[in-house]
Symmetry: C2
């Protein structure tokens, strides 16, 4: 692996001092901000995540705040998911599409109030699209990026750790719901959510200066739980089928191709900018779709580009995320496969840098 | 320095194979794509850039293509620079602002034809803003990112190298003009431009597959000129006062603060979205502005965050890019300084990780 050159443009986070003290070894860049990717080895981080509890600096999940009388209307313009039944205190996973139905981002949106929303974004400057649309339609809203940096607490011991710092009431937060909790006089939004399948929370830390005090308090409170600094884990998130925007889908893809049709209410999402484009695909279904792909191998290099999926000499798809799984003793991967070859059990080959490897379409992801 | 974790999301370029073969040591991420930052050492790369010729993979300068009857109108909406006199074949450096006058990007725009423009962007997803505005105003345009990847040829021997591959006519291209040239049957836009003060060209390589053949042809043709793989050089670009969006300015800043008032024709740029917000600042002038800052030191660490500029105990600005210059034997830096302390010769101190260092406001940059 090459080195990463530091610069102000690759923004640090409120938790960077803690991340560095914990011995971060590698980063990626996400929304022009540093996202840790490895502390010990990816395999050690993976085993620890599944058995204990980790603090993740996911400040890169920047918020697009939409406030004002037209806030609800604007958020509905962004997505084919029908938001009419959404209540304050709920989180929705929400595909965002352009006028062609191509995905621009796949954020989680938090409804703070009827006229105030946070869109917790994946890796693209969604702020620019939202601002541009608001400007063009002359909507009565304010759109900006507030000083909010999510800190995730993930792993089987997350409830125990969080209860020690925020009180037992955090245990009652339901999946994809959030509440307001106090930390040293600061109100914090805490949601039961996160980019792993190990359970846990995301704390929306408002105000840069409270970042390290919170990090330290959690580290201190969880010492006997073996709390460690961690990060979204490449192996675990593939096992869990958690998609990554920019890796597994781009603006070339519709939500339906990404298996997100269940988050699209194309018939009723009136006002959604991409609705017309998606009506046909919603009716007829996509011709390619995301699938779990098992690879018969004992090791895999980093998937830094699309690896073609072959049926004989015919390209029928591509793998976009892949890793060797210690727990499942095979290669786990996410791929986009043509409908002619997407049925469970279909035998394919993947063109990896290690050569042509046998691959199989699975019905579901591993976790 | 930490490592960078590869993934498909950090996009490779048509020239990545060449960059890797040349022994790239470090990258940054720019527009979600890999940008090399070092091949030998930054100092060796710097000395070579000033004496020979380098090929730079600047594919990260992605293009936003705007086509259609409303193309000219839309491009004018983006910028306070008056584009009415611009002819096909010209490049304009063009601050892009939002409705508050805050900078969203500082691209170079190429007018290919009255109804076709390429916006060659700095590090932000300007595509999303342009698409959002086009959508909201229902303009009759197509906006997308074409398969175009710039390759820069920079250094004092750039003319000689380019003439060998494209013919002597390239020597006649004037600064910030472009022409169409043939390479193996492919039409290529070649502009006299680039992110250094050493002279040279940017080739807008259209079509991924022609990337490596062109790279190899230039390497082969320039062997006796000591052509090497290079990249924008942190020291040289600061000496030259070349700003970096995300480092030296953000959406918090107006063009006037960035010293780009000469590219703003606020009185006549009718249709520019940020025009109203900029009228007052254009009249009264900004209260802080970019300045060349000399730092009295023999070495500097990477400037990975804003370093406060102090007048005694008062913060009067910040340094956002800095490096030790071997040629000028001092620290060279770019900073934003309050008007109370921006005059030439003002003595300040900069709070760097190496401690409090003496700093001086200079009238102009070094090159």
């Amino acid at each position: 692996m090459a080195l990463i050159s530091p610069s102000r443009r690759l923004r640090r986070t409120p938790f960077s001092d803690g991340v560095e003290a914990a011995g971060v070894k590698a980063y990626t860049v996400y929304n022009r901000m540093l996202l840790p990717t490895m502390f010990r080895t990816v395999e050690e981080d993976y085993a620890h995540l599944k058995s204990a509890v980790q603090l993740w600096d996911v400040s890169v999940e920047r918020q697009v705040e939409v406030r004002g009388p037209d806030a609800g209307r604007l958020v509905q313009m962004l997505t084919p998911r029908d938001l009419r039944g959404m209540l304050p205190g709920q989180c929705y996973y929400m595909p965002v599409v352009d006028e062609t139905g191509g995905m621009l981002n796949d954020p989680v949106v938090l409804k703070l109030a009827e006229d105030r929303w946070w869109i917790s974004i994946a890796d693209s400057d969604l702020l620019f699209w939202v601002k541009g649309v608001a400007q063009g339609y002359r909507l009565d809203v304010l759109v900006d990026e507030p000083d909010v940096s999510p800190l995730a607490v993930q792993g089987p011991k997350a409830d125990e750790l969080m209860a020690r710092v925020f009180g037992d009431a955090v245990r009652d937060i339901r999946f994809f719901r959030f509440g307001w909790f106090d930390f040293q006089g600061h109100d914090m939004v805490i949601a039961r959510s996160g980019y792993s399948k190990q359970g846990g929370f995301e704390i929306y830390v408002e105000g840069w200066d409270v970042g390290m005090p919170l990090w330290n308090a959690l580290m201190e409170a969880g010492r006997d739980l073996d709390v460690q600094a961690g990060c979204p884990n490449a192996i675990e998130r593939i096992e869990g089928g958690l998609l990554s925007y920019g890796n597994d889908m781009t603006d070339d893809n519709t939500p339906h191709e990404c298996g997100l049709g269940r988050f699209c209410n194309t018939a009723t999402a009136v006002g959604c900018i991409g609705r017309d484009a998606l009506l046909r695909v919603a009716k007829e279904g996509p011709v390619q779709q995301i699938r779990a792909i098992a690879i018969d191998t004992k090791a895999l290099p980093s998937c830094d580009r699309a690896w073609p999926l072959m049926a004989g000499k015919k390209r029928v798809g591509q793998v976009t995320s892949a890793a060797y799984s210690p727990d499942y003793s095979e290669g786990v991967a996410i791929g986009m496969v043509r409908m002619t070859h997407w049925d469970e059990g279909t035998q394919l080959h993947v063109q990896s840098p290690s050569g042509l490897l046998p691959a199989e379409v699975r019905e579901s992801f591993w976790i």
